[in-house]
């Protein structure tokens, strides 16, 4: 086996030495001039800043952002309040209460049972996506958006009013 | 009253006031600040005598360097009223006698100074750096060089004092 001290995984290993500096190195000014050249090159380089509200960084297609509770093509909520998402959630961020669908509410809820309240605590959520995988009704999905900031902790407990898909988005609902 | 006279009176007033406050103020830091004010007033007097170079150098050397060192020492030693020990009565009496004797000498010298002719300040060029340099390096070359030797010896003394301490510690 080769001497492991000479191994370099990154290929950029440099040996430390404490040999005396040459006169040119002691002058220090050439080194400063070289450094100033480097900083000046950076001065004219294209900037990496993304100007956030106007420009947005592109997310990966499998990015997991804030949740959405889907409606079907007719606008009825898909969720049947089975509780599998809450069960699968490792952070225990999801709570819900269920109710029975009444007569005349068929256009609101797809199944006979529905979630009366459905809350996700965004401060607990770790955006693992297990709820999405656990859902048998394809009701909950993680979107490409981020959960926005808020001034109070209460603002991060998302109820149905924030989670259920907006009625006007149904047309674009292809999933 | 001419403008020069008003300036002279004002500067003298400031100088005397600051000088008195230097001695009288309890807080040593305030003393130093009053002394700086006094230096400025004296620099103003130099300006009235058309000695611009002397005035500026006075400020650079005394106000700008020496008094900063004074402040340094005071700040680092933290000489507050509380921590200062009361001097013994005999030391106070000694100080009064010494200061009185000093004042006597000064008064005696100043009384004799009447006979000295005050150089005319009409000549504006008298205090310029060119004239000063010419006079210093021709007529007064010996005292000038002697002063530099004095400073050199003081410097060597200071280095020696610092070195001695260092050897003991090592």
């Amino acid at each position: 086996m080769a001497d492991f001290k000479s191994l370099s995984l990154s290929g950029r290993k440099k040996d430390v030495s404490d040999k005396d500096m040459t006169f040119m190195e002691k002058l220090y000014l050439p080194a400063i001039a070289k450094g100033m050249g480097i900083t000046l090159r950076h001065f004219f380089k294209p900037k990496v800043t993304i100007q956030y509200p106007e420009q947005k960084r592109e997310f990966s297609p499998i990015f997991r952002g804030r949740h959405i509770l889907m409606r079907d093509e007719n606008g009825a909520e898909r969720c049947t309040a089975c509780g599998l998402c809450a069960l699968s959630c490792p952070a225990e961020a999801i709570t819900m209460t269920s109710s029975e669908r009444k007569k005349g509410e068929e256009h609101l809820y797809r199944e006979e049972k529905y979630a009366d309240t459905y809350e996700i605590n965004m401060l607990r959520c770790i955006f693992c996506g297990l709820c999405e995988e656990a859902c048998p009704k394809e009701a909950i999905f993680l979107t490409q958006d981020m959960a926005p900031a808020d001034y109070k902790r209460e603002g991060f407990i998302y109820g149905k009013e924030k989670l259920v898909m907006k009625m006007e988005d149904i047309k674009s609902n292809t999933k | 009253m001419s403008l020069t006279l008003i300036a002279f009176l004002f500067l003298s007033l400031v100088a005397v006031f600051c000088g008195l406050m230097t001695v009288l103020s309890k807080n040593p830091i305030h003393s130093v600040i009053y002394l700086i004010g006094c230096f400025f007033a004296i620099a103003g007097h130099y300006l009235l005598l058309n000695a611009q170079f002397l005035a500026v150098v006075h400020i650079i050397v005394y106000a700008g360097a020496i008094m900063v060192l004074f402040l340094f020492t005071l700040m680092l030693m933290n000489l507050n009223k509380e921590s200062e020990k009361h001097k013994a009565a005999i030391a106070r009496i000694g100080a009064v006698i010494a200061a009185g004797a000093m004042m006597l000498v000064l008064v005696a010298v100043l009384k004799r100074a009447d006979s000295l002719a005050i150089p005319s300040t009409q000549n504006i060029a008298i205090g310029t750096i060119e004239n000063l340099g010419r006079v210093l390096l021709n007529e007064y070359l010996f005292p000038f060089e002697f002063a530099s030797v004095l400073l050199l010896s003081a410097m060597i003394g200071a280095v020696l004092l610092a070195k001695k301490d260092h050897q003991k510690a090592a």
Partner: protein, 354 residues
């Protein structure tokens, strides 16, 4: 005293004051923008077009902050410190010649507040008084970090003042005058044809060593990186202005930028020919003296602004020195080098004289 003179000088003083303030104001903005450009960022660009109103926003913020005075036995000195620092920073600009003479209404107007024959010494004197602003402020804060920052600042400034003065002496030996206007006028044009060998007339080409020493000392005197130990955040919280808030802190920061501006102006005057530029005689001859002077003022400000840019450029290149390195550089390298430079200059002058 004649009225025209009073009006002329008052106008010049007001204009210089306004320009100094404006440049200091926009230096704060420039610092942030340049800093971010050196780090591949964009910097503040939200307030106004391109972020140009950012300094105003910063100023409003500074004014509306709580003006806190710590528990200190010296409230007067605490307030006096920033006042003194700001005053001394502003006073220096009075002896700096911003341009040649203009001819207005039959008067020869020198673009300078006061042309005194010991101008350089005056600048040094005022700068040495500026130390008190930092020292008194830091001491009166009644805080260990402030005191340490103040002690560092003042010892650094005293030490580098020596090297700075010595480096200037070599230049003064050549020029033979202490008046800044005189020094600038000797660097007329760009190339001096009058000597045996034509050579550049600017002092930086005649005294490169003095220039480098002066430059390094100027960085140390203005407490800028790599010599910003007095306000070294990683060791001393904020240095001498740790306890300051609101506009008193603003004064300290502002005065630093004014100092930068003035020292850049001094460097351009002493070493880069101030308001002289190549082909100035041609401009004066063909386009009139007033226009040539105005171009000269523009050139002077360009040089000065480049100096400020240089300060910021160095700030993002060179890391901070250690305190012992700072003192070694000042006392063991720069001062002997400056003295050597004086000796060599003296020899050359004597040889030329014979």
């Amino acid at each position: 005293m004649d009225l025209g003179f009073v009006i002329e000088k008052s106008a010049i003083i007001l204009v210089i004051f306004a320009i100094t303030m404006l440049i200091a104001l926009y230096s704060t903005f420039g610092e942030r923008v340049f800093a971010s450009y050196f780090q591949d960022r964009l910097g503040p660009n939200r307030a106004g077009p391109g972020g140009l109103l950012q300094p105003l926003a910063d100023g409003v913020k500074m004014f509306t902050k709580e003006d806190f005075i710590p528990e200190t036995p010296n409230k007067f000195l605490f307030i006096f410190g920033p006042f003194l620092f700001m005053t001394t920073a502003l006073i220096t600009s009075s002896v700096i010649p911003w341009g040649d003479t203009l001819t207005l209404f039959g008067r020869e107007v020198k673009l300078q507040a006061a042309d005194i024959n010991v101008a350089i010494l005056f600048v040094f004197g005022v700068v040495s008084i500026g130390v008190y602003g930092i020292m008194l402020g830091g001491w009166a804060s009644n805080n260990k970090f402030s005191l340490l920052g103040a002690v560092r600042a003042s010892s650094q400034m005293i030490s580098y003042e020596v090297a700075m003065g010595l480096s200037i002496i070599a230049v003064l030996m050549m020029t033979g005058t202490l008046s800044l206007r005189g020094i600038v006028e000797q660097q007329h044009g760009f190339i001096d044809w009058s000597g045996n060998i034509p050579w550049f007339s600017w002092n930086v080409f005649k005294q490169p060593v003095a220039f480098i020493i002066f430059l390094v000392c100027a960085f140390a005197e203005t407490n800028r990186t790599p010599f910003d130990l007095p306000e070294c955040e990683s060791e001393l919280v904020g240095g001498y202005h740790t306890e300051y808030s609101s506009m008193k802190l603003g004064f300290y920061l502002f005065a630093e930028y004014i100092n930068m501006f003035i020292s850049s102006a001094l460097i351009s005057l002493l070493f880069f020919g101030g308001f002289n530029y190549p082909g100035m005689d041609w401009v004066a001859h063909n386009l009139g003296g007033n226009l040539a002077t105005l171009v000269g003022v523009g050139v002077m400000f360009t040089k000065t602004l480049f100096g400020i840019f240089f300060y910021m450029w160095v700030r993002w290149t060179v890391p901070r020195f250690r305190y012992d390195q700072l003192m070694n550089l000042g006392w063991k390298i720069l001062i002997p080098l400056a003295i050597l430079n004086i000796l060599i200059t003296g020899f050359v002058i004597i040889l030329n004289g014979n």
